[in-house]
Amino acid sequence: MEQNIFISGDEAVAHGVRLSRPNVIAAYPITPQTITVERLSDMVENGDLKAEYMHVESEHSAICATMGASAVGARTFTASSSQGLLYMTEGLHYCSGGRYPVVMMNANRSVALPWSIYGDHRDSLSLLDCGWIQVYVEDAQEALDMTIQAFKIAEHKDVLTPMMVNLDGFILTHTYEMVSIPEQDKVDAFLPPFQTENKMCFDNPKNMAFSSQPDDNTEFKYQQNEAMFNAVKVLKQTNKEFAQSFGRDYGDMVEEYRCDDADAILVTLGSVTGTVRVVVDKMRAEGKKVGLLKIRYMRPFPEKEIIATAKKVKAIGVIDKDISFGYEGTVFTNVNSALAKANSTVLKKNYIGGLGGRDITKNEIENMFNELLTGKLKKDGEHVEFFNLKVAIDE
């Protein structure tokens, strides 16, 4: 029987890691990831988890150590956030290029300056191009479930690509929910030990992480890109198997919520999805045709799914807890690129907010829907808006 316990998102991740039986964990503490590594340390101490826990002196060493362990065939886990994630950047690219399927939990947090320990998506979205599979979760249960799935997806022989499970700092990491803890036997059946040919061993010694010349480099990058596309099939299959074993189905690349006959939808990433769900239900009850498209995977990117949803609706708003300075929100850029390829004429708007931990309220979301439902932008040609902005804007 699955056991239901009242825990935080960080703790849910720790349970997901424990159940996945990693061989090596290397992590450096950073708010709001710390509870995860504290619980994992407890689990190693009390024998619930048989793993080498490495007290590395930095995030750079955390990613290097997990890559080293992965390079001999070990299942590996690390966790970070914000500044720490950025400090790993060199290793993130290295890890995906070396095809080391390290799994990481990232507690989404704002990036300095100004300093802020609270949540937004600038940390992981600014690293969208480092070759990691990126999934974003909506609640603690999904965080636990995706941690288990992440090992299966990342370690698949056709994928061999590291994977980052993103959960919103504080909103998910530090709030408590009832979470169902899967049984170890069932997780073991779902997730067998890591097997790979891509490792150093003494029967067949290898030189790894080598350099390439201009004649070969493109082919390595091409294969890495193909592996990311292979992940699409694998993650869908993994979700299906997970649903069969544990009864929880997350859809695959995206989840559509009441989009079928919608006029206007909002596209979300992470925990704000839950708030938008509530607003959708409220406005639907009032007869307004609104819906929600929750993006789960930012890489590989759900291009087909977004185009398919866009065909059904008249207006799409994208909420970005992120700003790529000098342009727009990164989720919007990606969504817009997909729509452009499909020659979509749908009305588009990018709502930037929730930065550095500011709450996104139901009222604000309702206002967005109402604007989208009018079928035109509040201000002609202004596709990007910082909502709930407390500074005066020159008109």
Partner: protein, 302 residues
């Protein structure tokens, strides 16, 4: 720790003919590659070697021509110690037995950019032998100053001219900084004293936990010396007292070689393009620093 008295001394007669680092593209007379080659002869085939960005990784892993016959991996520049530690943790967790993990890094990769990870590795007492081959500058990128570049060295970032004598700082005191971690075993060595070096490697091989060897390794390209004098010049560095052979074990320092009289430092310096510009005053400063260091070592370590 095994009983060191039981470890058979390695000599030119009994060292293996097998080459584990072979077919690489290092410059003629490269001291770093000699250090790696000799160390691997001692460590054997069941070795995981980790090397950061630097000369030895640049010349050893050019796809598809791989120069290591044992398992080997290039690591990010600052991460050789942490990746080696991860290899060790992975192998341990998977129950692999009878092997050694070694890191080979240059002076910059050790004393500068890789230092934090190295300090962490020693702090955790990870079962890794770390060998720093010291050619006294960033040679792979074209001879730039590192933390182990000695005073008066002309490099491409410490040019010698009217205003500056080349590098104006002295070598970081790497060996003692490592020892200050209370590491189980640390040593200095020189490719000019190969038998001393390989037996220190052998000693470290048999110690479980973090160990460290700082080996002086000449670089004809960066030093402006003939390619056939690499071993000779690395020996002279020791004989003139500008490098020294020592060990740190069980909390004690030991000088392995304590010459009654030093060979001429000026002669050693004048042979090398990188020091040719030095004035008498510059040389006197080098000698004064040397004498101060030796006075301290003799007072404290003998």
């Amino acid at each position: 720790m095994s009983n060191m008295l039981d470890i058979k001394k390695i000599t030119p007669k009994n060292i293996t003919d097998k080459e584990l680092f072979y077919g690489h593209k290092a410059c003629a007379g490269c001291g770093g590659s000699l250090a790696v080659r000799l160390a691997l002869k001692v460590l054997g085939e069941r070795t995981y070697a980790a090397l950061p960005a630097g000369c030895m990784s640049a010349v050893g892993f050019i796809y598809p021509q791989m120069a290591f016959k044992n398992n080997a991996i290039i690591t990010p520049f600052p991460g050789v110690a942490s990746m080696a530690a991860g290899i060790e943790a992975g192998a341990k967790a998977l129950g692999i037995e009878d092997y050694k993990t070694v890191a080979f890094a240059g002076d910059g990769g050790t004393a500068d950019i890789g230092f934090q990870a190295l300090s962490g590795m020693i702090d955790r007492d990870d079962n890794v032998l770390y060998i720093c081959y010291d050619n006294e500058a960033y040679m792979n990128t074209g001879i730039q100053k590192s933390g182990l570049t000695p005073f008066g060295t002309k490099t491409t970032t410490t040019p010698a001219g009217k205003n500056l004598p080349g590098s104006i700082t002295h070598k970081k005191n790497l060996f003692e900084i490592i020892a200050a971690h209370d590491i189980k075993y640390a040593a200095t060595a020189s490719i000019g004293y190969p038998q001393d070096f390989i037996n220190k490697v052998n000693k470290a091989k048999h110690i479980k936990g973090a160990t460290f060897i700082h080996v002086y390794a000449s670089c004809p390209t960066g030093w402006g010396t003939p390619t056939h004098t690499s071993v000779e010049i690395a020996k002279e560095a020791v004989d003139c007292g500008l490098f020294y052979l020592a060990e740190y074990e069980n909390g004690e320092f030991k000088l392995n070689k304590n010459p009654k009289e030093f060979a001429s430092a000026a002669e050693y310096l004048k042979k090398q393009g990188r020091f040719k510009h030095m004035t008498e005053e510059n040389i006197n400063e080098v000698v004064a620093q040397r004498d101060m260091k030796w006075e301290r070592m003799r007072r404290k370590w003998l």
